[in-house]
Symmetry: C2
Subunit: 357 residues, 2 copies
């Protein structure tokens, strides 16, 4: 079967730390079919270019935005960077700054370095959410962007996006929401997080996370076409003329897989997965709590718990792919490939390790 | 067969403009196997992380560099941007500029906007190559990077890299070579273009072009580890600690496909393809010349010729995917999927169009 001789790719049997997952079977098939296409050259690769238009339209449905502008990016890092870049390019300050909660993904630090803007990270409230008053205090006349996170990487928290919209408006800044992971879960909750709920200018929402598309399939969405215009450079020798994406050649596999899975799963398939993952996270949190660990109560299907360092390391040695929050808590993401049997097996190992400690 | 309902991906039967191609069968199989892996999270996805180390090592062989630093990027745009970013970050000027030939790929314009550096594009010599004297005149004490192109997008030209190395050294700047397309062709020529031939600091060399890997598979290589350090940000919540790539989550498909095809084809398979493509380009150029078109004599397998606008449009209407140089010449790239029968069919259409003009 394997003529490549490269060995086995990662099995997901013990992966609890990743926000990537096994793609949906239709997403996989679409990715394989469109492997050799390049939506970065839309006049040459027209079918995949049309699929990208469709994906952006459907992502608009996911995030409450009619007639979205945007494109399929490599992932959340590119989309977050583009949001900062658009805000910087559309401003007239020479010393732009971005105000974000301390929970913002490390891609904002990367964006700050790349784009040469100042990143002001603001302390969270006691429930690990953005604190609008503290964020407001961090803004000034050079603030070009206020960032909210809808589904934080470490605790799955949802920032108060409408309040952050007021902070941004009062500062004369734009509002960006990073829903890279949360975007395919939040439509089935009561949280206010999307373009319809608040004056959001740009959003990151990644099909290749809980959207079950294949890597690389990120989403960068903007309310106004002018945002894309602020990112555009000319493309001599391509017939299409201009390009707003950060990369040039892009993966048709990512685009096609997102198209296939969105057609198949939006909205009811994603609703089922949200409910399944949420129930699983609640159960797993209760199991950890029952063992006496200090558990951060999940709001989205991501569980953090204060497990001793030695236990964590012993579990890693048993092949569990787990990671830690900045506060050194164990962090488990209930992605589509994570099922109850897998977590029962993990808990059995946890109990075994602890019994020997 | 096609459960996705997305229709047919682009056939390469009439694609003459693209620098992408149908991947090698082993590259395709490797990409499909590693679709759901993420080398951006090397502690979780260890097999693909090891393959990336192997690919960088093998790319070092392609470009004449022992112990290369680098990584598999999304493509040439990211690699070029990272070269500019490293040069900017390692300099101490507040007003950095980059001196590049007018033939530099449009990704340098994108990089200049993203990174807020000045791009100085310098006129070419009469054979469309970088002019070292003119480049030297464009440098000053704020020049952080001199760029040479080894295989230009429009005419396949190879800049005088050793001379540009002197220009860079005299300006106290770094030297970057963009061999995104040319890197898998030039090892079989007499051109001086690589790390062994000149004091090159960084290079772009894309496996997903003439390397026959699957998209996205770009290469960013650096002589010194310090270059990567200048691009590094911390990655809290991942176990690996830091990240030098521009994107976060990355495609394991691109990495694995590059590993598979490099094992298979380097060097003799690539040599055969270079010879095949070069012979084909020479034949095609002669065919066009014989018809009275003004042909830019190819140095690498890329042919440009002065075909009238109306003829060009008529050929596009017949389904040929062709593109134009900035001077409006027809531009045909002899990629691995481009074979003599295909070009004979193109010439027959060309003759037919012209006979009706």
């Amino acid at each position: 079967m394997d003529a490549t001789g490269l060995g086995e790719p990662q099995s997901f049997e013990r992966v609890l730390s990743s926000m990537c997952t096994e793609p949906h079977p239709l997403a996989r098939q679409a990715a394989e079919r469109f492997l050799a296409t390049n939506p970065g050259d839309p006049e040459t690769y027209r079918t995949v270019a049309e699929l990208e238009t469709e994906v952006v339209e459907r992502l608009g449905d996911v995030v409450g935005l009619d007639s979205p502008s945007g494109y399929v990016a490599t992932g959340g890092t590119e989309a977050n960077l583009q949001a900062v870049r658009a805000a910087r390019n559309l401003s007239d300050t020479d010393a732009p700054n971005v105000v974000a909660p301390a929970s913002a993904h490390f891609s904002f630090s990367k964006a700050a370095d790349v784009l040469d803007v100042e990143l002001r990270l603001v302390e969270l409230d006691e429930d690990f959410r953005a604190d609008p008053d503290a964020m407001r205090a961090a803004t000034d006349t050079d603030t070009v962007l206020v960032v909210g996170v809808a589904g934080t990487t470490e605790y799955g928290r949802v920032d108060p996006i409408p309040d952050l919209g007021e902070v941004a408006a009062d500062a004369g800044a734009r509002l960006h929401v990073d829903a890279a992971w949360g975007g395919f879960l939040l439509p089935f909750t009561e949280w206010e997080w999307n373009f319809a709920d608040a004056p959001v200018d740009t959003m990151t929402v990644d099909p290749h996370k809980h959207g079950m598309a294949a890597i690389p399939s990120g989403g960068f969405l903007a309310r106004e076409e002018a945002t894309l215009d602020a990112l555009t450079v000319g493309t001599p020798y391509l017939e299409s003329g201009t390009q707003a994406s950060l990369t040039g050649t892009r993966s048709g596999a990512g685009v096609a897989s997102a198209a296939a899975v969105l057609r198949e799963l939006w909205p009811e398939g994603y609703r089922s997965e949200y409910e399944r993952a949420s129930d699983l996270a609640a159960w797993f949190a209760a199991e950890l709590d029952g063992r006496g660990y200090d558990v951060v109560s999940p709001t989205l299907p991501l569980v953090s718990a204060d497990v001793p360092e030695a236990t964590f390391e012993a579990l890693r040695e048993r092949g569990w792919r787990i990671s830690r929050t900045a506060a050194d808590e164990l962090r488990v993401v209930c992605m589509p490939h994570v099922e109850e049997g897998m977590l029962r097996s993990f808990l059995a190992d946890l109990d075994d390790v602890e019994s020997k400690a």
